[in-house]
Assembly symmetry: C2
């Protein structure tokens, strides 16, 4: 036996005691790092930041930062509360080098500031390290995930036949929805089990219908599934970036006319850039008419279910065959907290798997149920736990008030844009985000100035503002974006951010 004093573990009866001093170190380093940063993002160029991180990984004690085969690292193991130098140093580094979504001037992405209570719950998960792929790695959290999903299915308006799983986010959830659609709709049309024998050579070309403002993960999923990105038919959107239902109807008819298979309609409930919500009932009608699977990407907009004011926007969601929700967006959870739900558990069939070492039939018969057949992953962290703690602490209503606050903030920001002579609002906010741009004197410079002012604000460490492009072709489509996800921010702070953007536009324009 090698004589080793092994470093402390997080589990067992003594794990919490070992964690105590280390967790204190982390909290001190987080505070220190935030103070050093002193704003929403570290000032400087990306190259400067990269160099700073690289130095920190090799200095001081740098030679032991990443030991390599053959190195003579005479380094004693850390005992409980012992050597926490690297933990302190690297936590401070990363805190100082973060974009902090809790800062009022950080409002670019669907990148929420997590609730402290959810972060604390996530610590429990890290320390206990359950894995959801077999009962005997996760007895309590297997039950907990099932119960949480039941509650979320009810929130969506699904019947008790629903099933689902926690995912890494909307991208994985969208992939799952389209995979089940492929295996079910194309499988039936071609009379084969695709998961077994692969995509049938003689089958009709399968088509997926999604709007021009749908998330790129829809095309990515089509690529991964072997259907190819070109299988996705892009449906035009109206000015608010909402799918045009007449265009969808026409595209479905054209698909059938060409002898192709309308496999899935993907409606977006809350597009990434504007929060636009596709006409869900019309999409459901058209999908049903053509025998297509209906998937709703509600990764962002699903948060509206928490708010009495906004929930009516999602009418028709309960008709979807599958839904993506992300609680790390309008749910204030640390990443990841994705949710995938199907209306009918039996549509999960093609994903079911039996692994002798994880879910043998006689164990399942004895009640040792496994979630293995519900997920694309094997090892899986119980992200349902932080959601359960958050819901138990705040309730749906408590979370709904946060959603409403952010909705109000977006309207305050849009009003500030509308009244500013050099800014142009694209459209009123639907949820908590809106697009706008700075108008330079020379309209031909608009894209360049807007892209440049955003990088200027990043470089100066003053603001993190989003940037995107409107669907279509040609210049003039670059837009800035504010995504309001911080319920602690005030309307005054949002107005200040809008004015900061305008001032950066003026400064940028002068350099051209």
């Amino acid at each position: 036996m090698t004589a080793v004093v092994a470093p402390a573990l997080s589990g067992g009866v003594s794990g919490a005691a070992a964690l105590g001093p280390m967790v204190r170190t982390v909290l001190e380093a987080l505070a220190e790092g935030a103070a050093r940063r002193g704003g929403p993002i570290p000032a400087g160029t990306p190259q400067e930041l990269f160099a700073r991180v690289a130095r920190a990984l090799t200095e001081p004690g740098g030679d032991r930062a990443f030991g390599r085969p053959g190195d003579e690292l005479a380094h004693a193991f850390a005992g409980p509360g012992g050597d926490d130098d690297a933990l302190r140093r690297l936590t401070t580094l990363v805190a100082a080098g973060s974009a902090d979504p809790a800062d009022p001037a950080c409002a670019a992405h669907l990148h929420c500031p997590p609730l402290a209570v959810a972060v604390a719950a996530d610590l429990a998960v890290s320390a206990l390290n359950p894995s959801q792929d077999s009962w005997d790695q996760a007895p309590a959290t297997t039950a907990l995930e099932t119960l949480v999903l039941g509650e979320l299915a009810e929130l969506v308006g699904y019947p008790s036949t629903a099933a689902g799983v926690l995912t890494s986010g909307g991208t994985e959830s969208n992939l799952m929805g389209l995979m089940l659609a492929r295996d079910r709709v194309l499988g039936r049309a071609s009379g084969c089990r695709i998961e077994r024998s692969g995509l049938p050579a003689g089958a009709p070309r399968a088509r997926i219908f999604a709007s021009a403002a749908a998330h790129f993960s829809v095309r990515r999923a089509a690529a991964l599934l072997g259907l190819g990105e070109d299988a996705v038919v892009t449906i035009p959107v109206d000015r608010d970036l909402r799918m045009n239902q007449d265009e969808l109807a026409a595209a479905l008819r054209e698909c059938v006319r060409r002898g192709e298979l309308p496999m899935a309609v993907v409606a977006t409930a809350g597009t990434t850039d504007t929060g636009a919500i596709d006409p869900l009932n019309a999409c459901a009608d058209l999908a049903a008419e053509h025998g297509a699977w209906m998937h709703v990407d509600a990764a962002y907009g699903g948060g509206a279910l928490l708010s009495d004011r906004l929930a009516p926007l999602l009418a028709g969601l309960e008709r979807a065959d599958s839904v993506s929700l992300d609680w790390h967006k309008l749910g204030w959870q640390p990443v990841a907290a994705g949710v995938f739900l199907v209306r009918r558990a039996e549509t999960y069939a093609s994903l079911a798997r039996r692994a002798a070492y994880l879910n043998p039939a006689d164990d399942e018969d004895a009640g040792y149920s496994s979630l293995l057949g519900l997920s694309l992953r094997t090892t899986r962290r119980p992200d349902a736990f932080k959601i359960a703690v958050t819901l138990a602490t705040l309730g749906r209503d408590g979370l709904g008030r946060l959603v409403d606050t952010c909705h109000d903030l977006a309207h305050a920001g849009a009003a500030a844009v509308r009244t500013h002579p050099r800014l142009e609002l694209h459209a009123d906010p639907v949820l908590t985000a809106f697009l706008f741009r700075y108008l330079p004197a020379d309209p031909a410079l608009a894209d360049r100035v807007n892209a440049g002012l955003r990088r200027r604000l990043l470089r100066e460490g003053r603001a993190v503002v989003g940037r995107t492009e409107l669907p279509g072709e040609g210049p003039g489509r670059v837009r800035l974006k504010l995504t309001l996800l911080n319920p602690h921010v005030t309307a005054t702070e949002v107005e200040r951010l809008v004015h900061l953007v305008a001032a950066a536009g003026e400064a940028e324009e002068e350099t051209l």
Copy 2:
């Protein structure tokens, strides 16, 4: 504006202070829960545990545990350090209801007890909530992940052309390897860009070669990719569950003879059940000869790279086109800490994506590099951070000593099995796991007794032992498994566990 006192966030300058009391609550609840459990897993049936979790989610204050639309939840928001009742109650519940990999009698799966320092580092990530899909959501951790992957590529023996990404685990990494293989090898053979146009109808049938002991995620990946599980050709294994290289050579020749395409060879470096390592150099030779992609699933065995004693077992790994490593197995990280690496960054081409809102070309030109095109996910937690802190704290050598300790423990356990008259060892451990079984008086009852004794130990809350089946057909293939991943355990404790299993076998046999 709705007047709301929003609950505390984890970020900003005050986040750490808000987290302090909540984190203390979690640590107290973890200790309390572990004490209540008093063993490796809670005693009782799965049905009893499910009922206990269900009760806890609806009691006390149960009606507010999961608020539903229309509920009148008069619940005040939690302030910093305020209402932590749900956090305490549910953390205690989950701690008491966990299978604890830090307990000496919990040794079933590749389910490691995390290091306290890695768990503390993971808390920093939860609190800061960076997302790796764009630079402006993760400035420091974008740089950090790139640097950590460079170190891990060097550990594998890859040249500086390597690239990679953190994943949710071996299942996702194996999927990525096979996706790149499909897009590159089948794409070239059929002259089309599969990610764009889908699997070509007239192309030769693509085949994947993996051993009978390869992980089921290989077949699952084939299903997801549209190739179908039947695309996987199963190569027989020897008694140690190592792929037979003559059989592989013959299968590849047969594939070519039938006009099919040898797309990928998947070698396993550390099978889930026995830690068997396929002949990597022979696999690399055969893959090269046939123009097939070589992927090595080293999710478990990759940990051997940390140990001077065991690293030579992985000779040839550096010849793989892609590799899966899991630091949440032999790396003592909390889930997830998967790693996917390719030898040549250019082979990543088919996954590259441009999203106007995440990685516009002019931003990338300005140095705002994004990891988006390296991952199947969009939103993504920086799991590289805990690995960086662990490596900086312990060094490769420090981790290598933990690997060696667990290797020693597996040998101690195997020795105890070998000397016990009622137990049968399948084969000596290669890494840190081994298979064995209890021998009942009536050999026809062997499968039933072994499966039953394992459930008996679970039900009594006394031990968590693995159970699997040897490859092949027919009865007599059920085996028990011990996976030693806890470097704090002593050889005496492992021997005690082996004897506990034997006693449970006797008890189980008596009930039949």
